[in-house]
Amino acid sequence: MKLRKSEMAAIGSGRGTMDSQNQVQSDTVDRLKLLYPNVNEEETPLPRAWSTKDKFSYIGLSQNNLRVHYKGGTQGPGRRPHLPYLHLRLWMYRHGKTHRDAASVRATHPIPAACGLYYFEVRIVSKGRDGYMGIGLSAHGVNMNRLPGWDKHSYGYHGDDGHSFCSSGTGQPYGPTFTTGDVIGCGVNLVDNTCFYTKNGHHLGIAFRGLPPNLYPTVGLQTPGEVVDTNFGQQPFVFDIEDMLKELRARTRVAIDEFPLPDEQGQWQQVLHRMVSTYLVHHGYCSTAQAFSRATGQPIDEDIASIKNRQRVSKLVLAGRVGEAVETTRRLWPGLLERDPDLLFLLKCRQFVEMVNGTDCEASEDGANGVATSVISHTGRPHKRSNGVAADAAEEGGGRDVDMAPAANGDHEDEALPLVKGMPGVTASVAALLPDRFEADASSQRASVERMLAFGRELYAMSQKLSQDLYHKSMLEDAFSLLAYSNPWDSPVGWQLEPVRREAVCDALNSAILESQGMQWSSPVEACVSHARSLLRRMSRAALGACAFADLSALLAR
């Protein structure tokens, strides 16, 4: 359970990096990601091109491995000899006459089940001499000196006769023939394990049923001059695949809605009331929870005073007053933070971020100042500032250290600015921030910065004692990096300063308190959602395509 908690926190603090990744990708829209949103490409990469290795030698690839042509072999029966033109024509004529001349290529990766409905299109650039082209699917390891469909675990639709070949040398009448200029699409329904084809955007009907999992898109060619281009989804398709996706989504939704439940589990009203009530209690929405329980007759398992206490601490964290929250926690639940140094570190780390933010001061010294201000507030968000001169000054300051990379441990030794003692990775740029150029409240600012640096050192010392070194170190690095910028809010690590980041910390603290009281660390509704998510992941691993169409957020939004 401990591990889960830190996992949650990790998700919380890791979100920043994820966001920035997404931003990079949104510049070049990845159509495949939109088509197959539930596919985790780190686990199961999508086929994006033909494999340069998993092909027969007679096959040539070009144009980013999306164009396939028949080049024949350099040896054996398919070898293209050096001959005078007429003889070459004769060779061309003879070549590709036998099945031994057939050659296939597979895509780089098998089709992930989490696609739900997978589709790719092949445009026949040239039918070559005879147009013996096959388009389809095959499993890993199937002989490539063949057209798709001829062998076990191999499936194909052939252009010369329009037949479909289902792991057999003899085809079945299936569809029309296809030739130069035609666009042939191959679709795999991973929910019911069927395959269909399209010709120029027209659905030709189901060709194969009962397909095995992990098939690769495959094309095969047999005679000279045959050339095909492939669209794995990077370009818009000729066929309206979105229409079928919509249908499958609607069907999956109906299947979920109409799934029969045993009577005792089917009492939705009861279950939902319990969910709502426990959620409210869990997050300390005390009055609402009381009102709800009065209205629905749901019992509250926790002491009201205890809920109120948790609510108080949560409010402090959410307001950014982490220092006070820590103090209150210590007072109300003595020993809790001492038993859980990871949590304490998380809180302290957040406290440091909030100090940069100007929302937290050490509780003991808070009274004197009264107004919470950031030590580096003079470089704060420009729109909050009314003083034009000061803004200019900030730019000046910015000009000075804008080149500072987010501090990496020990990388700055040879740089001009000395390291701040006790805080590795934090350079003296902080010192440059020090408001010595601002005459007004220089002394109090300086004191704040001093305090912050002292707090930072303490934090660093604390991190050294923790076991999960790597994780804590990166969290600390992120936090310290804030100091490297004259305007932390606009910096690449500025995401840490967003108030929404407090939520993860708040949750972690709340969970720890609940656990210490002998209660569930997460609320049933959250457990339910994360359970559903992990079930979807398991479905994807178990090659159950329906996982692609179970849209959790849409189901929850209802």
Partner: protein
Amino acid sequence: MQQFTVFMDIESSRSYIDELYSSDAVKVMEALVTLKNSVIGSNRQKSSVISQGVVPRLLQLMSEESLDPNIRLEATITIGSLAKGTPENIESLIEKGTATALVEMLKTVPLGSKLAEAALCALRSIFSHKPAPVDALPADMRLLTRLTQIAREDSQEARTSVIRVLAVWCSGTVEQEALTCAGACSAAAAMLVVPPRSVPSPSRLVPALELLAAMCFKNPNVAQVALNTRHGDKSIPELLMCLVSRDKPLVVALKAAKCLTFLQRAGALPADDSRIVFGALPCLARLCTKENTEDIRASAAEVLAYLTEVDTSLQRLAAISNHLMSSLADIVNCQSAAAKQGAFKCFASLGANDEDIRKMIIETHGLMVHVVNGLNNPDPCVSLAAVRCLHSLSRSVQQLRTTFQDHAVWKPLMQLLNDSPGPELLNVGSSTLCNLLLEFSPAKEPMLDQGAVEMLCNLTKMSDPALRLNGIWALMNMAFQAEQKVKQRILCCLGTEQMFRLLGDSDTRVIMKMLGLLRNLLSTRQHIDAIMSEYSSQVMQAVIVVLEGSYPAEVKEQALCILGNIGDGEKSKDLIMANEDVLRKLVDYLAHPESKLQEAALFVAGNLVWRGEAGAAARQQRLADLGVLRALKLLRASHHAAHLHDKVKTALAQFNEFT
């Protein structure tokens, strides 16, 4: 026991029914409410109340404008409730003028009122009965404008009701045009919008789609208006395109595809429009597949048959879409007549033009057996559709020789045609027969034994020109390269009187086929002489009638060809030679400005002057005397007849002694 309770009900209801006629509004109101509550959900009560003669009083209470609106409302609701009863209930309501009363009321009631809604609801129930009292709703512009206004602006319930009523009502060109003028297109368009993220509701969409389909059916003007009607940023075809997608309820997709089909057939959309090619057609092909219910599949096949009836490219596209052939073959297997009919019609459309598609149809597993069974189906709709299918397939020479022979399709067909068929069946059936009787068809012989000649001769006496044409056409096909006894039988059966009647037919095509028949009868030498020996005067008269009459050139050409055939006969030549009238005409036609007539006359002359046959010299002499030789020489000199020069030379070469 049952009777006893009925009796009790009537007895106990006496009192409040009497109150209905009271002059005290409060009492009437109470009685109405009691009555309403008693009839809701009970067909037995409805019948009982109607039989007590309450309806006129209810209509009066409903229509009286001076009465308390609440009384009128209750009366209308009660009528509406009665209209949800058995078909007999509705019939008696209609008999008592309920529909008219409701329509009258709609002219005056304020829009958006409960009363209007209740009246529309009642009217909808009455119109859902078949036959609907369409006459109760006159094509009065002011009324229709009012109704379409309701359809655009009123409550959801009222809109749906009025659109349903109009959809039933719209059954002819007059209604279609009137509704269009009243703005029904835009009213329907407004109903077709499905807000994003909402589940499309068939109960709202289907009436609007039905109205649109009824309005556009075979009406190019209305279809054009519909094409240009927009709601929001979308035109009607675009709205329909959204509704044919796979995530819509099947019945909605079906009706939307039907609307697109009607728009296309009425000429508003070209056959290659993407909304047809990627919208309606794939949708219908998908709805025909096995996963769907029988009635959906039946209707989809029927609509698809209409969509692909004429356009070859759509036929080709449908033939490869979503395994349509096997889907249709499976629908033929369904029990219901509607399903069989739809599938046969669809096969008929698909195979109308393309030989490859016909081959695909024939090769569909076990289909021919089903077609033959379909011909024998007791339901006339099914047998008609099966004949249509057969007719399409009979255009294939290959099928005539093989599959049709294997399955002896002529047997049930002949039986159908001999069994007092309806006009439509007779038409399609005889057309099919025409094809079956083509020279190369092996079915010819057995059909003769079944009395085909007699039946076809009867067809030529029909008042419908299409049937006469089919009859004479089939006879012509039958006579082609037939044995002499067959020819004799045709001549004998048809009779010279009928022959002349046909030559005077109002339809030129019939005359052409009649002459064609004569040509086919008069071919090969022995047959010519044999037939001419018996019918010479009639045949010659027929030819002269045509040559002298005011017929188009292609008809006269046929007559000259007959002469040519006669001229090929050994003894028959003399019949021409003996007829100076004919010979003079021949000279005239050799100089005729119409080149095909010249060519035909040349053919006759060539046959007559042919050397090496008995009496050739005498004939040449006679023809030369009459100016044929001169005419030929002129023809040779003519630049206009350059393409005939070879034939002219051959003919002239025969006249050796004279040139």
